[in-house]
């Protein structure tokens, strides 16, 4: 492979080099204005030009490299919080460098963070995600939602759903740790979550594949009557940093398959919008050879599905008065929603994906995957139609508003439009799955003059969601957009037949005229994701998170699960081992580079309760605590305390050691756990 190794130029050197190239090019351009700059490599001088030439870099490559390179010691301007897909976790990625900063353990055990490997608090949070008492230790995380204040990201919390099992998790951005997992008691899967209301009063979790309430059994022949759709509104208690399940409620919906949702904002605050598919009530092809229609055909037979328009403000009161209890969740029956005017439908192009609200809250933008248009609805017109009762009931009696009366605009973008985000200059960006591109289009009044397509940029390949900087808030930043591509095909070295996903960073700062071929957009960088298939992501200005985040815990003995000092935490000077019958309780401190005490002797069969505190207070002075054979690995960040509890069922000698390289004497940071035979 001599040829390949010749290409191995350090990235930092390269980009420094091309920086020089650009600077010199600019000088030449200035020196011979009128002349097109020449570009004689001999005139560029130095190794930078040689590197660019040797690597065959175009001018666009060089500018992309310069826009994404973040020198050592400098930090990214934006952070992406991305769903981890099958990883069941959340990825934190810097923009524009596209460097992975962290994988936050959420639904799935994560060894480095000691998430689910003995630390009792993490075990208990994972247990909150059990389904009917059974561990479910993978998740299909889909849509992260950053907490908002006045419709803008505030950098305090992130929520994430698990489509596969209808679960929602709360992550605190002070320490980037998951604090709570909730299993939805009425649904077995979800999709339309998580989304938050403008002040994060409610976390929205919409359903997906209809099932009988509370994952009971009902034969498929009773689909129309016994299978239910749903949307759940989880009440978030910001001061507690937790969802308050007792104050949460759900709405029963027809057994259409709800898809994405979004909360209204500003003029539409107090309302929630979800879309749906399979309003056909298809139940699959049935037994082999029965001749029935597969879901893909049955669920897309009609031209329209329904956008759900939900009066959340009003629903809160109705839940209190007319809600019924299902598995401990307060649920508003469908008939109550109809009677009280909580739920309206609006026809939408079939099989839609996103329902995305413009920054001012005036319009709902819907893309039907099988229709080349985005369809834009006016909130005001929806309100007028409701007031005028301009509707026909659907098969369940839900009022279906007249399509023409609520339509604001339709813009033809291309094939397979899925999901839309916005910038601060009146442009919208929609992913086009079939075209494998991102379309840029102009919004009509009050944002601009005319609803019109500006152009598109190819992406690689099969884009799902996209994310623009703060692109679903009341105050989008523009600047950067990331295409979350499902396929990468030829973009990376093929690591076997399972190929990574591809996050593509796109610069959206220029006006469309700057580069008419791509409507002003420039592709900057490809980031392979080889850990799962992310669905949605949100991009926040890094400063907003920096205002809240802790680099070390505020006090020694900090318990991340309560976010306060644990009065029982081991502290320097009170380390001890106490035997009480068959229970051995240990209070141990960790500091560079020793455990106190460092020798623990028990008998086989003893119950071991092992409290640990990292009494180091320096940034990054994290210690690990790992016990071989017992599946124990705990991460103790500076100041953190944790407790491990287990039965010493195996006798033998178990050297425990610090599994996080902490100091020059890290290897010496060890001890013996001796389990004498009975």
């Amino acid at each position: 492979m001599p040829r390949r190794s010749a290409w191995r130029v350090g990235r930092s050197k390269l980009i420094l080099g091309v920086g020089v190239v650009i600077a010199v090019m600019a000088l030449i351009a200035a020196a011979c204005s009128g002349d097109d700059g020449g570009g004689e490599s001999s005139a560029l001088g130095g190794s930078a030009a040689d590197i660019a030439q040797a690597r065959g870099l175009t001018e666009a490559d060089i500018s992309a490299a310069l826009k994404t390179y973040v020198p050592s010691g400098q930090q990214d301007e934006y952070l992406i919080f991305s769903s981890g897909g099958h990883a069941g976790q959340v990825f934190v990625i810097g923009v524009p460098s596209m460097r992975l900063l962290k994988t936050i353990g959420v639904f799935t055990p994560e060894p480095w963070q000691g998430w689910g490997y003995g630390d009792q608090d993490t075990m208990e949070i994972l247990e909150q995600g059990r389904v009917d008492g059974n561990d479910v230790l993978w998740a299909d995380t889909h849509h992260p939602a950053l907490s908002e204040t006045d419709g803008d990201y505030d950098g305090e919390f992130v929520f994430i759903n698990d489509k596969a099992n209808a679960r929602v998790a709360v992550i605190d951005l002070r320490d980037f740790e998951t604090k709570q997992i909730l299993k939805n008691p009425i649904a077995i899967n979800d999709h339309g979550g998580t989304f938050v209301t403008p002040n994060t009063e409610w976390v929205i979790e919409g359903g997906q594949y209809a099932t009988p309430n509370g994952w009971e059994y009902a034969p498929i022949s009773e689909y129309e009557s016994e299978y239910k759709g749903m949307v759940t509104f989880w009440k978030f208690d910001r001061s507690a940093g937790r969802i308050d399940a007792d104050s949460s409620f759900a709405m029963e919906l027809p057994p259409y398959w709800q898809d994405l949702c979004d909360a209204g904002k500003l003029v539409s605050e107090g309302w929630v919008f979800c879309n749906s598919f399979n309003t056909e009530l298809a139940t699959g092809s049935g037994d082999v050879g029965s001749g029935g229609e597969a879901f893909e055909a049955g669920a897309s037979a009609r031209d329209n599905d329904y956008m759900h328009v939900i009066n959340l403000d009003k629903a809160v009161g109705v839940a209190a008065s007319k809600g019924v209890d299902i598995n401990g969740m307060t649920v508003i029956p469908l008939q109550a929603s109809i009677d009280e005017g909580l739920l309206y439908f609006v026809p939408e192009p079939k099989s839609p994906h996103g329902v995305d609200i413009t920054p001012g809250g005036e319009y709902m933008v819907i893309s039907g995957k099988l229709d080349p248009h985005v369809t834009v609805y006016s909130f005001d017109k929806i309100q007028d139609a409701i007031a005028a009762q301009n509707w026909q009931p659907d098969q369940y009696g839900v009022p279906v508003l007249d399509f023409d009366s609520v339509l604001e605009a339709q813009v033809e973008l291309g094939l397979g439009p899925l999901h839309t985000q916005f910038d601060g200059d009146g442009y919208a960006y929609t992913s086009l799955f079939l075209n494998s591109s991102v379309a840029r289009w102009s919004l009509g009044p009050p944002y601009g003059d005319e609803w019109k397509l500006e152009g598109e940029i190819p992406v690689h390949y099969n884009i799902g969601h996209l994310v623009a900087a703060e692109g679903d808030t009341v105050d989008p930043d523009g600047r950067y957009l990331v295409a979350l591509n499902k396929w990468s095909i030829d973009r990376f070295f093929p690591p076997g037949p399972l190929l990574p996903q591809n996050f593509q960073l796109i610069d959206i700062t220029e006006a469309p005229e700057a580069a008419p071929d791509t409507a002003g957009m420039q592709l900057l960088y490809d980031m392979p994701i080889g850990v799962g298939e992310p669905h949605y992501a949100q991009m926040i200005k890094a400063d907003k998170v920096l205002d809240h985040v802790w680099e070390v815990y505020p006090e020694i003995g900090w318990d991340p699960s309560t976010m306060s000092v644990d009065p029982n935490a081991p502290m320097a000077g009170n380390e001890r081992v106490v035997r009480n019958g068959d229970t051995v309780e240990i209070w141990m401190t960790l500091v560079r580079s020793h455990y106190t005490p460092d020798r623990i002797e028990v008998k086989a069969g003893d119950r071991v309760i092992w409290h640990l505190t990292n009494i180091d207070t320096s940034k990054d002075a994290t210690h690990g605590f790992s016990v071989p054979g017992y599946n124990i690995n705990v991460s103790l960040e500076p100041g953190e305390t944790a407790t491990v509890e287990f039965d010493a069922t195996m006798d033998g000698v178990f050297p425990f050691y610090c599994s996080e390289f902490c100091s020059a004497l890290h290897l010496e940071m060890a001890g013996y756990f001796l389990v004498a035979p009975e």
Binding site: T617, A664, L665
Partner: protein, 218 residues
């Protein structure tokens, strides 16, 4: 003339005071100001040590007040155990326990000095003049003791070896570049010492003629 009168020195007549107010007020102001500066210095660090190493890009800082340490004390204690340096808790225990009281006494002596118009004033002002010297000497002694009583069982004791951290100025200890500087508290104490010395000179200039006059009259 009693012994007490002799020690207290002559009083200034009302007429003389009106005529040469500045002459007598200057030493009073200098002694009084010094007393205030000394009291103020209690609230400010006397000695500031900063340490830089590759893995501490923001550096570590220790601020020594007369009675306590502030700054990255815990972190530095943690690092010290690798070299075998003793605990800060064990250093200058006596000095720290009396420091605030002693400084208040120094200031009180300066205030008392205002009453004395004879050469006995030296007895009340000299402690304030000598105090900064004493502080530096004591600090040097403790630094020497720390650097020469390493715990030989510490992991890096042999690699680092015995040393005396400089009281002021830069040094290198293992991977750390250190810089020790006088703190604002010490600078105030130093200023107080200088002001007291200058005050003594003006004191002599003001009162010696009166003392001589009195002696001549006898």
């Amino acid at each position: 003339m009693t012994l007490l009168d002799r020690i207290l020195g002559p009083r200034v007549s009302r007429e003389e005071m009106q005529e040469h107010a500045g002459r007598y007020r200057l030493p009073t102001a200098l002694f009084g100001g010094s007393a205030l500066l000394l009291v103020l210095s209690i609230f400010l660090p006397y000695w500031v040590l900063t340490l830089k190493a590759p893995q501490f890009p923001d550096g570590l800082t220790i601020q020594a007040f007369v009675n306590r340490l502030e700054g990255d004390v815990v972190e530095l204690e943690g690092l010290n155990h690798y070299v075998g340096l003793g605990s800060f808790d064990d250093g200058a225990v006596f000095e720290r326990s009396i420091a605030i009281g002693a400084i208040i006494v120094l200031a009180g002596l300066l205030a008392a000095a205002l009453l004395f118009h004879s050469r006995w004033v030296v007895l009340f002002t000299m402690p304030a003049i000598l105090f900064p010297v004493g502080f530096v000497a004591d600090l040097q002694w403790w630094l020497w003791r720390y650097g020469h009583n390493l715990d030989s069982s510490a992991p890096f004791a042999k690699a680092v070896g015995e040393f005396t951290p400089p009281i002021f100025g830069p040094a290198e200890i293992a991977q750390f570049d250190t810089l020790a500087l006088p703190g604002p508290g010490f600078l105030l104490a130093l200023l107080a010492a200088v002001m007291t010395g200058v005050g003594l000179w003006f004191h002599r200039k003001a009162y010696k003629p009166l003392v001589d006059e009195l002696a001549g009259a006898e």
